[in-house]
Symmetry: C2
Subunit: 221 residues, 2 copies
């Protein structure tokens, strides 16, 4: 049988079974992988399902990634690479320590609103046993830089008298804790609890409490 008249580029539109889309694939696979790995966890995730969600066959996955492990790692690294910290330097330029701190918290709050990025912490934490290297990288590329900034802001605030003298390192952890709680809660208990989780309200309250906790004593310490 001869080839059918595909030459009729005038709209015979015979949908091909698939298309070559070598450029678009990786991103789509990352998307699918995040979805499936998030929903099932790394081990329980089936590559067949990742492929299905990505709209390709399992074999095709292996044209782009060496192994299931490599796919997971590449995906996680890809999501980390994204400007998690892009705003950090800008925020640091704020005229006061207070504003810098608030700016950073706002940035983190926005990140929680992006389902893709807010999925990463729980995934890294959950799979840290099997991928210690990934935990290490997350620590180095995300946690430590953010923490360093927070420490810096707190120290600056103390120096300028905006804040009272607290331990900057412990305070940095306290600043981050509610964000972690939120990221985890949304992906673990949301829908099971009788009360909806209002991330915005939590962060508002967090900010309020934090600023009061940092305020210098009104008169004498």
């Amino acid at each position: 049988m001869q080839h059918p008249k595909k030459t009729a580029k005038d709209e015979t539109t015979r949908a091909p079974r698939w298309r070559r889309r070598a450029e678009a694939r990786p991103a789509e696979i990352f998307d699918a992988a995040l979805t499936v790995f998030s929903a099932r966890g790394f081990q329980a995730a089936r590559l067949e399902e990742v492929a299905k969600v990505a709209g390709i066959s399992k074999g095709t996955l292996y044209l782009y990634f060496e192994s299931k492990t490599a796919l997971f790692e590449a995906m996680a690294l890809e999501l980390m690479r994204v400007p998690v910290l892009a705003g950090l330097d800008a925020v640091a330029q704020a005229p006061s320590a207070r504003e810098a701190l608030l700016g950073l918290m706002q940035t983190m709050g926005r990140m929680l609103g992006d389902p893709r990025r807010s999925a990463l912490p729980k995934l890294i934490i959950s799979e840290s046993a099997g991928f210690p290297e990934l935990a290490r990288i997350w620590l180095q590329t995300v946690i430590q830089p953010v923490r360093a900034r927070l420490v810096e802001f707190v120290e600056r605030g103390i120096a300028t008298g905006e804040f009272r003298a607290v331990d900057p390192w412990e305070t940095a952890k306290l600043v981050m804790a509610p964000f972690l709680l939120t990221a985890i809660w949304m992906r673990t208990f949301e829908g099971l609890d009788d009360r909806p989780f209002d991330a915005a309200a939590l962060i508002r309250q967090h900010t309020d409490m934090l600023l009061r906790g940092l305020a210098p004593a009104a008169s004498g310490d």
Copy 2:
């Protein structure tokens, strides 16, 4: 071929290969299961290894538990059953809201010191996708009661004028967040970070910040 000279049962009590210990087994298996499941995650954990750690054979596991899933669930439930909340009512008897709050935080802090119990949160969170029922039970038996108490204490403090008027629900989450951070950190990043994690210092700082954040405005709001 006949059996080799085992007939030499000169009965001088050489250790028998095993003993009947039907009563002690379950606890030992739980211990082993917690260790292995914590280290590897549910899916990656091998029953062979659980058995080895428990000092028995894989087959013996099945004398006590229906399946890998049943073992995991039974273990998690067993750890929840333990007096997580035993101190709750006692703490609630404290003369002031402030003391009740501090008492509860102290209890939670102590819990983090017990490696067995502090392992549970991360395990539940990590496996929540595969065991949504367990997440629900954890929510109901641990999180919600603790949260309810916290809300109650905060409301009481506001009523008595010990605390300023904050949102008790959001505040309850803020109280818990650093404990969650600690539980997760210790089992995820500890050893990778350049700074050791000082849980006690964090809780001290947390307490300090919290009380200041809750303090009524010195003069006018």
